[in-house]
């Protein structure tokens, strides 16, 4: 049980950390985050 709770805690920490990082990165502007996993030309975001 404690192992499962540890997994839940770690998952929540990663989620909070990642979303916090995203907030920090986007704090100074609102340009769209465009990623390209394939190298294809990126169209205008929605």
């Amino acid at each position: 049980m404690s192992r499962k709770l540890t997994v839940v805690l770690l998952s929540m920490l990663v989620l909070a950390g990642a979303m916090g990082l995203k907030t920090v990165v986007t704090a100074h502007g609102n340009s769209p985050a465009v990623f390209s996993a394939t190298g294809a030309p990126i169209p205008t975001p929605f």
Partner: protein, 232 residues
Amino acid sequence: MLGPADWVIWSLATLFEAAVVVCSVRKKVFRRYFFLNLYMLFSVLVSVGQFRVLMHYGRSSLEYRYFYYYSEALLVISLYFALISLYSVVFQELRVERYVRFGAVLLLAGTAWFSYAVVNQSSARMLTHFVYELSQNLYFIGLVLTYALWGVILKLRETRALLVQLVLSLGVYFSAYAASYAISNLRPDLLPHIAYLFPIIGCLLPLAWAYAIWRVPGEARIEPARLAVASR
């Protein structure tokens, strides 16, 4: 209209993605890094699909935009599972795969819920916005997970050279994206120039993986620093 540079970068990226799978088969590590290869196979298929849609409808068409962002979201999810499979390889000897799978599903569900909460406000094209938001958020989750995995590798003194190379390449890939994204937010006037960087970064990950798989034998071990000092 696409310029010659766009075509070259795209072609090279697809070539490198195929090269990862070919190198894995040749070096007999395909099954060990199955999800990484699956991600690369999906990338090749998506590239072909994107090419066909682009040729048929054009870059500014709604069809290309939909196809691009939906297929990218699927690719990001498969990249997420590829990253989780690296966790499974690292934790193999501790026999905690069950907990890794549980954590991975929980984290994916949490990210989906968070993305839904963000786009819940907009009623128009909510599914499209959700897919776009989810893929963005998963990139940042991937970044944090890669750094956490690197910490685990250091803590457990993991010495499998290929595994270390794969994780480091992934770390550089995610970090480069995050840095480019941060710069484009700090200096929006640079966005048109930085936009060229994204496909190049996407091209470098399969190149690094293909090179690592080709050059580093599957059973090769890195000599730990402490052993290196003791042997002097």
